[in-house]
């Protein structure tokens, strides 16, 4: 046996190395577009930083607007990664293998995006550290009974655990790439591999640690969006004060997250020729998740109205829901219902689920609908609360739109850079699935080329 022979990469390593290779003009164009959007957002933040929230459309009674919508939206997008990587791992759903790394990357970058918005919204962002408990000369401590403080702990924990989960999962893959490359790339992969050598001793601990991390991440994913929903539900505002909110928010988060994963996966598999790795079966299974969560979200919408409308005419809850459906913002409400409850039903047709670009179109519209859902919940309730003399409509101004689209640019910028650094496919898990699919009776061969793993 020759000493330390350089292994020839298999199809999986080659696929990842191709993604990590020299960027093409399409990639650079997208990078420039996302960078431009992010720069526009950064400029808007600079203006808010120097001139304050007076530049926004916020005021009385609508003190929360686009910025908080964006926070809830991006936390929701982040949920899908943990659902696919942790929850489906615990349920032994094999279809997750080819797609979960992309979802995990999306989670980390979406939380990094979400975390910016409360800071933008502070008005005095240089005092953001006041949200953290730290000893100070005044003897002041933060109020742990405030749901806004729960958010700080929930979102920062979610970011940390998601990063740990992503890096732990990527270490064996980085080791495979390290051993198949040279030069600067080898150094980068060696850094991500944490000294991984794939020995039985390492795998023995790794499989157990991964199980525990999945066990920690599963209740976390449910808790984080529940905590975000409590930002609204523990207040007394009509349209917000509801025990329905936590499951409703979690289902909505998963709906928007899975839709975003599909939106990213379809162009990714096309651009990098991954059709044999991310198969129509994977997209089909994700589409079914979209339909399931859309039905749960639709049920939540019906329940809200079903509980509010039978109340007496004087009931503010009833008035708020009628206002949502028939008032100033009714077009947004009905667009939301169409995008989140009607369009996903198209995915019941196998033909639509298998038509990749139709699937992307539906998923993009679902995300538009989910953003509008947050807008409808936040703005309609605040603009039309218990005091009719205070009713006022809200319209976002340019810095709020700049930050909204800037966040989109920032998220995709991070994702595009992440694609060049992290292995977007779980090589180790794919190989395990491939080996067992290739030799079900113990007589087959360990295929080095990926076939239909699903």
């Amino acid at each position: 046996m020759s000493p330390n022979p350089r292994p020839s990469p298999t199809r999986l390593e080659r696929a990842v190395l191709a993604m990590h290779g020299r960027p093409g003009p399409g990639y650079l164009l997208l990078l420039a577009l996302c960078g431009g959007l992010a720069a526009w957002g950064a400029y808007a933040f600079y203006r808010l930083f120097t001139q304050g929230l007076q530049l926004t459309g916020l005021g009385r009674p609508v003190g929360w607007g686009n910025l908080i919508c964006n926070f809830v939206f991006w936390v929701g997008i982040a949920h899908c990664g943990t659902l696919i990587s942790a929850i489906l791992f615990l349920f032994r759903a094999r279809f997750r293998t080819a797609v979960y790394r992309v979802a995990e990357m999306m989670t980390v970058f979406a939380v990094m995006t979400a975390g910016l918005f409360p800071v933008f919204h502070l008005g005095r962002p240089w005092l953001a550290y006041w949200l953290m408990p730290y000893p100070n000369q005044r003897g002041l401590w933060i109020n742990f009974r405030s749901p806004l403080v729960w958010d700080v702990f929930a979102v920062s924990t979610y970011l940390t655990v998601s990063v740990v989960f992503l890096l732990v999962g990527a270490a064996p893959d980085a080791a495979a790439l390290r051993d198949a490359t040279t030069g600067l790339r080898r150094r980068l992969y060696a850094l991500l591999a944490f000294g991984w050598r794939g020995t039985d001793e390492q795998w023995r601990h790794y499989t157990r640690a991964y199980l525990f991390l999945a066990g920690f991440a599963t209740p976390l994913v449910v808790s984080v969006h529940s905590v975000v929903s409590w930002d609204f539900a523990v207040s007394l505002l009509p349209g917000w004060h509801s025990s329905l909110f936590p499951p409703y928010f979690v289902a909505g988060a998963i709906l928007s997250g899975v839709a975003m994963v599909i939106t990213i996966l379809v162009p990714l598999r096309r651009a990098f020729h991954l059709e044999d790795i991310i198969t129509p079966h994977h997209l089909d299974m994700l589409s079914r998740l979209v339909v399931l969560t859309s039905l749960i979200v639709g049920y939540a919408y019906l329940t809200e109205f079903g509980l509010a409308l039978p109340q007496p005419a004087s009931d503010p809850e009833r008035a708020t829901f009628l206002y949502r459906a028939t008032g100033h913002y009714a077009p947004f409400f009905w667009t939301m219902v169409t995008c989140n409850c009607v369009l996903p039903l198209l995915l019941l047709a196998r033909r639509v689920r298998r038509a990749a670009w139709a699937l992307v179109a539906v998923c993009v519209l679902i995300n538009v609908g989910m953003w509008l859902e947050r807008w409808v919940i936040i703005v309609t309730s605040l603009s039309h609360d218990r005091l009719p003399f205070a009713w006022r409509t809200y319209a976002p101004r340019w810095p709020e739109w700049a930050l909204t689209f800037g966040a989109l640019g920032w998220f995709f910028l991070l994702f595009l850079v992440g694609l060049k650094v992290l292995p977007p496919i779980s090589i180790a898990e794919m190989k395990e699935a491939q080996a067992h699919a290739a030799a079900p009776s113990g007589t087959g061969t360990l295929a080095v080329e990926v076939s239909h793993v699903a």
Partner: protein, 167 residues
Amino acid sequence: MSPDPGVLAAFAEPHDAARAIRALREGGFDDVRAAMPAPYPEVLAAVGKPRSFMAFASLPGAAVGVCAGLALTIGTSLAWQLVTGGKPVVSMPPFVVISFELAILAGAISTLGALVGAGAWGGRRREFPRDPRFAVAGVGVYAAGGDPERAAEILRACGAVEVDDVQ
């Protein structure tokens, strides 16, 4: 640190490697090691090591997180007694949220620390000959100590693609 002298074999298929490991252990080779690009359960089962101690890192980590969360919330509330909404200064329901989040955080970090530590310690204790091929494809089986000729014979009989002595 170099590994103990022994015999290294490369297998194309995990089930052949698992068969070889079992045969080696039945043949009196107590120290049999493996390296592979994926956690093939049959190979890990054949090596026959006890279950990992990760639970003993994760659960105490989570327990420390719960205690830290309760100490932080109760302690700081008592240090700065601000009554809001007529609720008790020490209100357990909201404090449970913080404790829960810190339990998850500390549990995950302690698991990561234990994984990195165990990987490094295990690598030193049971060194595997450096061969990058096994991070990419196939399974490497290493029989440390014992009669090298007998080990090579068993490994070849179980379908090893390549067998070599390691000094």
